[in-house]
């Protein structure tokens, strides 16, 4: 076997949200509401919001509340844990189309056979919200 050397990557950084995503996280933190951006040209509602429409490129002029429920569009099961994982493995990664939105939001759910494409889910908020996507701890089936 070949020799190895222990190495480390340790980087701290600050990511500027910009106006649109900043407003999204502010609303999530302060009131638990999810905002989408409304395209003035084609009418697409994007959640998470974007400064420019991903379909037609027009600049967004309005933010609108979406959710709180959403429909699961796709599911991936994460079987192995890893550093910085949002939940204890196994857990689910979801793309969720929030009610009133036309695009999908990436989030997580606890491992649950009922969570499949088409399942309606709602957010379970974190105890302390600080203005990040993890202010929603995970999504759970609405029927619970």
């Amino acid at each position: 076997m070949s020799e190895t050397r222990e190495q480390r990557s340790n980087v701290r950084y600050r990511w500027a949200t910009g106006e649109t995503v900043g407003a999204f996280f502010s609303a999530l933190r302060d009131s638990g509401r999810l905002l989408g951006s409304v395209c003035p040209e084609c009418g697409v509602v994007a959640c998470p919001p974007a400064s420019y429409c991903e379909r037609c490129g027009a600049g967004a002029t309005e933010l609108r509340e979406v959710g709180p429920s959403g429909v699961v569009m796709t599911v991936a099961r994460q079987c192995e844990g890893f550093t910085g994982a949002p939940l204890e493995a196994p857990f689910l990664y979801l793309l969720i189309k929030m009610a009133g939105a036309d695009t999908t939001l990436l989030h997580v759910a606890k491992d649950d056979e009922r969570v499949i494409p088409g399942t309606v889910v709602v957010p379970e908020y974190a105890a302390d919200r600080s203005g990040t996507i993890m202010d929603i701890a995970y999504f759970r089936p609405e029927e619970d």
Partner: protein, 157 residues
């Protein structure tokens, strides 16, 4: 056009997210780096490798030539002396630095090699470092098989 943002009473608006990436990992050296570092640690020797196609001597050793892509062949012992090709003075701190700034960082062409070797320059006033200056490795007493087995290169004159 300004965004119409309904901002409920709360803290100051979110303008940034804080990120932190920190992970430890084991880098497998492979046969070329393993022998390269073993020779430095055990024998204070800097080894290069010769290209079977164009004949250049490469450091650090590697399986294929970076110039003509032919396989490399014979291992070649290089001198631990050479000359400075270019250099800079590093003042800013950043993660992973080998020593505290300020320090001088140089590309050194070791005698017998055809590509430069990057390392730190020591024992000289920064203002006195010149391109073409002859330097020699200052070997560390406690060698672990890393590039820091050479503490720095220092002028020979």
């Amino acid at each position: 056009m300004a965004l119409e943002i309904a901002r409920p009473a709360g803290g100051s608006p979110v303008v940034e997210l804080k990120g932190h990436i920190d992970f430890l990992y084991n880098h497998t050296l492979g046969p070329y780096y393993e022998r390269f570092f073993d020779e430095m640690r055990e024998n204070r020797r800097i080894m290069g490798i010769e290209c079977t196609g164009c004949g250049v001597v490469l450091i650090p050793p590697r399986p294929y030539c970076s110039f003509c892509y032919a396989p490399t062949g014979d291992w070649v012992e290089l001198s631990d002396e050479g000359r400075i090709m270019t250099f800079t003075r590093v003042h800013a701190p950043f993660p992973g630095q080998p020593v505290e700034p300020p320090y001088t960082y140089a590309y050194i062409m070791l005698d017998g090699a055809d590509v430069h070797f990057p390392h730190i320059i020591g024992e000289v006033d920064p203002g006195d470092v010149t391109v073409g200056m002859r330097v020699k490795a200052k070997w560390a007493e406690d060698r672990k098989g890393t590039l820091h087995d050479i503490e720095y290169f220092r002028p020979t004159t």
